[in-house]
Symmetry: C2
Subunit: 284 residues, 2 copies
């Protein structure tokens, strides 16, 4: 950056106010934790951004602000390097934006952790003939191995686990279902770079029975005897799979209670599902 470029950048940022020239401050929004969120939306030259950022942070420090967040849409990628050089660190990123953060307070840094887990579901759908809905996949670990498995999928950000299970079964097999219970779940680590994984086995009740398999991801789909499913060598070989199969058999053959759901309201007024053993809770 040449001296003349800097001078030009400063000049562009000058505004006349009561006859005094000032650097234009960035328009941050206060959060409820004594912090500032900068939602950068309009294109800006790196040099002008740096001068405005320095002036803004100076003011926020005087105001006793603590965490400063900068959200940069990917179109403003030119502002990532200057932000880092001004002391910001990455916090998280999605395909179309990056969030940076800097702790400018004197107290202990209380910047919250980034999301650490991906969440998946496996759907246990049975009909009255003790048959379970199973698929073979076109991609991934099980491709071409002849393994019949439950429909599975990833729970989206903002999606309820119970709804994700219903959606995935519909997408992969065309079967309509309703949610019954979560029978079990598994937590595993380093499933995706350093991230961890939570996988919920959901029991669903079928509301339709004619399979319309999805073309691109699903090689085959069918109703299969639950005993035949559980007897597959692949299932028997891995106790992660066989223990889940045993839980599903227990649900059909014994009085197994999983976790069902109730809608609740959180302290901040949002609706969210709590999952627990409602059968045991309702005992006298």
């Amino acid at each position: 950056m040449s001296t003349s470029t800097i001078a030009l950048a400063i000049e562009k940022q000058m505004v006349l106010e009561n006859g005094v020239q000032q650097v234009e401050l960035l328009n941050g929004v206060e959060d409820s934790y004594g912090g500032i969120i900068l939602n950068m939306e309009e294109p800006m030259e790196s040099e002008a951004f740096v001068y405005s950022l320095r002036a803004s942070i100076s003011q926020w420090k005087q105001q006793g602000k603590r965490g400063v967040w900068i959200k940069l849409p990917i179109q403003l990628v030119n502002l990532v390097e200057p932000s880092v050089k001004e002391g910001f660190r990455y916090h998280h990123a999605e395909p179309d934006y990056i969030m940076l953060v800097n702790w400018i307070g004197n107290s202990t840094n209380t910047i919250p952790e980034n999301a650490s887990h991906r969440v998946g579901i496996g759907a246990f759908v049975t009909n009255d003939q003790r048959e379970v809905l199973v698929v073979q996949e076109n991609n991934g670990t099980f491709k071409g191995k002849g393994v019949w498995k439950f429909p599975t999928g990833v729970v989206n950000e903002g999606e309820d686990i119970c709804m994700a299970a219903i959606r995935e079964v519909k997408e992969e097999t065309g079967i309509d279902t309703e949610f019954v219970e979560i029978l079990a779940f598994r937590q595993s680590h380093k499933s995706f770079f350093t991230k961890s994984d939570l996988f919920f086995v959901c029991m669903l009740r079928p509301l339709s029975f004619d399979i319309q398999k999805q073309e691109t991801e699903i090689e085959a789909a069918q109703w299969m005897s639950i005993n035949e499913y559980a007897a597959q060598p692949f299932i028997q070989k891995h106790n992660g799979f066989s223990s889940v199969a045993n839980v599903c058999l227990a649900k059909l053959e014994k009085d197994y209670a999983g976790f069902s759901r109730i809608p609740t309201t959180t302290a901040s007024g949002k609706t969210s599902y709590v999952y627990f053993n409602s059968r045991d809770l309702s005992k006298l």
Copy 2:
């Protein structure tokens, strides 16, 4: 970037091989999904990087590669903008690095989703006198409200839920515990920007009883009658809290079965815990 800068950059990347000048290729590692992972570690000029990246991608396309990942430590922030201008998108970021990705294959994009959930725990620890271990916090939503709550905390990336509960209780109160069961869990959304949240209520058995409270985060800690805990106006007012309190009371007073854990081995050979209702599974 001036023409002479480009020429210099190209020249610096030239290597003589069998008398032919070539741009140096980047050293990517193949992943198991037909992709390439570039772990950039050494500093590099942006211009040189762009030429090497173009040449490398050209070769990877010929080899039928599909997803190309670039991991950039924060020290190499100068390579973020050139990567985006070459067609890469953000995938995720942690404080000290950003991961970018580009799908160069002809088939459907199967880039996996980013982590979507944060995971937290609340610890239900009771002694023989029907007392529960509770704290008041120095920070956050409950600061200064006089609410007694279970010790809570965030599950780290790579940490087991059961272990996180034991760790948080030890950190906040000094009490040693062992894991018993997960009694319930709650899923909520937009708890942190767009990210979702899973909160597990873990029952722990105390192995010690003398409280040594943590200084910076915890205002006060004590053993409190479970009925007194559940009767707090704040708990009664929010059914998210009261339903959890009811589950905990049911655990003490009725025959309530939560989910206990067994270690299992996944298809890829990793150890991970499966959580389920082991009491019902062991029924005849």
